[in-house]
C-alpha cells in the first residue's frame, strides 16, 4: 500500500486516539447497561453516560438535561422534524427548510408532506446563503418549525444562524438546526443563537460512528418532541433504546477535546485550506470556488475545474488521495449534486466539482502533495477533453447542439 491522504473529513473524521483510549474500558471492563439500577455495573455505566452528557453540554453551553442521545445525526434530524410535527400538530402543520439541506432533513420533510404536512423549501443565493427576507415572508400562522443547517456538508457555507434565530423568535416559531458539520469545529451555541433543537453526531468531530445527539431546549420555551422510537422510555421518553455506552463515552471525550482545541484547529486548517485553494487557482486555468468564501467552514473548499469531469479526475489519484465530487456519475440518475445546482451552477460545473475537507490530522506536506497530484490530474483530463479543446479553439459551448442522452 502506498501513501494515503485523507481529505474527506466531511464524510467522516477519524477517531482521535484519545477518544479511542477513553472508550476501550467500556466494552469489557465496564460492560453494564446504563439503565440497570440494581448493581454497580449499571451505576458506573450511568455515571459514564452522565459525564459524557456534561462534556457535550459544556461544548454547547447548555444544560446536560437538554442532550438526548441517538444513533447519529440522521436519527436526530428525523426525531426533531417528525417529533415536532407530531407534538405541535394542534398549533400548525407548516415547516420551512432549505433546498441545500442534507437528505436526512429533506427526506424527513418529504415524509411529513405525505403525512399531510406542508413544507416550504427556500432557495439559496449564488453564494449558498439563504435570503432572510424570503424566510420571514414564508412564515405563516400555521408555521411550527424552521429548519436550517448550520454549515453545508458540500460547500461548507455557514448560514446566518443568529439572524434566523431572531426571525423565529419574533414570530414565535421553533428553530431547528442540523449542525452536524459545525459542532466541534466552530462555536455552536444554541442559547446564544436562538436555536431550540440541534442535531449533531460523534463521527464528524473525531468521535465514533453510531452515536449522535439532539439538543432539545428545556426552558423558555420548553420544547418537546414525540418519540419516534418506542420502547423502554430512555432519554426522558424521547428516545428509547439501550444507550451505546462506549460510543457515548467517546462522543463525550471528543466534545471535551473539541472545546479545548477547536480554535487552534480551525486557525491551522484555514491556513492550509487557503494554501490549497490559492495554489490550485493560480496554477490551473478555469478554476471556480463554490459557495461564499467568507461565511465558510475553515477546513472546506469546494472547487470546480471547468471542462473536467469530477469523478474521472478523482480516479486519477484516488488510490492515494481521498476527496469527494459533486459529480454523481456513480449514481444511476446521473444527476449532479443538488446542492451545487441550487447555487445556480450549471450542470457542467457541478459535474466538475471536487470537495476537499481537511481535518485535525491533515499536514501541510499532504496539502503540497495534493496540489501536485491535482495539477497532473486536471491537465491529463483536459488533454483528453473534447470540450476543453473546443473551449481553447474559441467555440461557444452554449451554442453547440449536444446530442443529449
Amino acid at each position: 500500500m502506498g501513501r494515503r491522504i485523507y481529505l474527506d473529513n466531511n464524510a467522516t473524521t477519524p477517531c482521535d486516539p484519545r477518544v479511542v483510549d477513553a472508550m476501550v474500558p467500556w466494552f469489557y471492563k465496564h460492560p453494564g447497561n446504563a439503565a440497570s439500577r440494581n448493581h454497580p455495573f449499571g451505576w458506573e455505566a450511568e455515571e459514564a453516560v452522565d459525564y459524557a452528557r456534561e462534556q457535550i453540554a459544556n461544548l454547547l453551553e447548555v444544560d446536560s438535561k437538554e442532550i438526548i442521545f441517538t444513533s447519529g445525526a440522521t436519527e436526530s434530524d428525523n426525531l426533531a422534524l417528525k417529533g415536532v410535527y407530531e407534538m405541535y400538530a394542534r398549533k400548525g402543520n407548516h415547516i420551512i427548510t432549505v433546498k441545500t439541506e442534507h437528505k436526512a432533513v429533506l427526506d424527513a420533510c418529504a415524509k411529513i408532506e405525505k403525512l399531510g404536512g406542508q413544507v416550504t423549501y427556500l432557495d439559496v443565493k449564488e453564494d449558498g446563503l439563504i435570503d432572510l427576507g424570503e424566510l420571514e415572508a414564508a412564515i405563516t400562522d400555521k408555521t411550527i418549525l424552521v429548519s436550517v443547517m448550520w454549515a453545508n456538508n458540500e460547500t461548507g457555507v455557514i448560514q446566518p444562524m443568529k439572524a434566523i434565530g431572531e426571525i423565529c423568535e419574533k414570530h414565535g416559531v421553533l428553530f431547528f438546526s442540523d449542525a452536524t458539520q459545525a459542532v466541534g469545529k466552530i462555536p455552536t451555541l444554541p442559547k446564544e443563537t436562538g436555536i431550540h433543537l440541534m442535531a449533531f453526531t460523534g463521527h464528524k468531530m473525531y468521535g465514533p460512528k453510531g452515536v449522535g445527539a439532539l439538543f432539545v431546549n428545556r426552558k423558555k420555551p420548553r420544547v418537546k418532541v414525540t418519540a419516534q422510537m418506542d420502547g423502554g422510555g430512555h432519554e426522558r421518553g424521547m428516545r428509547s433504546g439501550t444507550l451505546n455506552v462506549p460510543g457515548i463515552v467517546g462522543f463525550g471525550k471528543a466534545a471535551e477535546i473539541a472545546k479545548a482545541e477547536m480554535a487552534q484547529d480551525a486557525a491551522r486548517l484555514s491556513v492550509l485550506r487557503d494554501k490549497l485553494q490559492a495554489a490550485l487557482a493560480s496554477q490551473l486555468e478555469e478554476v471556480y470556488i463554490n459557495g461564499n468564501e467568507e461565511h465558510r467552514m475553515p477546513h472546506v473548499a469546494n472547487i470546480s475545474f471547468k471542462h473536467v469531469e469530477g469523478e474521472g479526475l478523482m480516479m486519477m489519484f484516488n488510490q492515494e488521495i481521498a476527496v469527494s465530487s459533486g459529480s454523481a456519475c456513480t449514481s444511476a440518475s446521473l444527476e449532479p449534486s443538488y446542492v451545487l445546482v441550487a447555487l445556480g451552477l450549471g450542470d457542467d460545473l457541478a459535474h466538475s466539482s471536487i470537495r476537499f475537507s481537511l481535518g485535525r490530522f491533515t499536514t501541510e506536506e499532504e496539502i503540497d502533495y495534493t496540489v501536485e497530484q491535482l495539477k497532473t490530474g486536471v491537465n491529463h483530463m483536459r488533454d483528453l477533453s473534447p470540450i476543453w479543446e473546443m473551449y481553447k479553439e474559441g467555440v461557444d459551448l452554449d451554442k453547440v447542439v449536444w446530442a443529449e442522452h
Binding site: G312, G346, S385, P386, E389, W402, H405
Partner: protein
C-alpha cells in the same frame, strides 16, 4: 467499487487520444453526449480507399469508464470495414472492461459515437447509410 485492470489501463494510458482533420472527406466525426450529462465523447475515424478504417482518434470528457470505453472503441475500430464497425455492440465493451451496471451507459455512448462517426463519413462521401 474497484475497477478492472483493463479499465484502469485504458483510463491512465488511453490509446489514440487526439484529433483528425474533421474537414477531410476521409474522416468521419461523431460527437455525442452533453456537458450537462457529465460526458461528451468525440470519436473520429479515417477511412482508406478500400473502405477500411485505417485510423481512429478520440477525446472524452467524462468519468473513467467513459474514457476507457472510448479508448477501447478506437482500438477495435482500426482495421475494420465500415460494416464490421457498425456491428460493434456496447455489451462487448461492457464485458471487455468489466463495467459495473451503473456504467453501462458509458459503453452505450461509445457505440453511439462509433455509429455517429460512420454516419458522418457516409454523408460526406454520399454513401447510402
Amino acid at each position: 467499487m474497484a475497477y478492472s485492470d483493463k479499465l484502469m489501463d485504458h483510463f491512465k494510458h488511453p490509446k489514440n487520444v487526439g484529433t483528425l482533420p474533421k474537414n477531410s472527406k476521409q474522416v468521419g466525426t461523431g460527437l455525442v453526449g452533453a456537458p450537462e450529462c457529465g460526458d461528451v465523447m468525440r470519436l473520429q475515424i479515417q477511412v482508406d480507399e478500400a473502405g477500411v478504417i485505417e485510423d481512429a482518434k478520440f477525446k472524452t470528457f467524462g468519468c473513467g469508464s467513459a474514457i476507457a470505453s472510448s479508448s477501447l472503441a478506437t482500438e477495435w475500430l482500426k482495421g475494420k470495414s465500415l460494416d464490421d464497425a457498425m456491428a460493434i455492440d456496447n455489451m462487448a465493451i461492457v464485458e471487455e472492461l468489466a463495467l459495473p451496471p451503473v456504467k453501462i451507459h458509458c459503453s452505450v455512448l461509445a457505440e453511439d459515437a462509433i455509429k455517429a462517426a460512420i454516419k458522418d463519413y457516409k454523408a460526406k462521401n454520399a454513401i447510402p447509410a
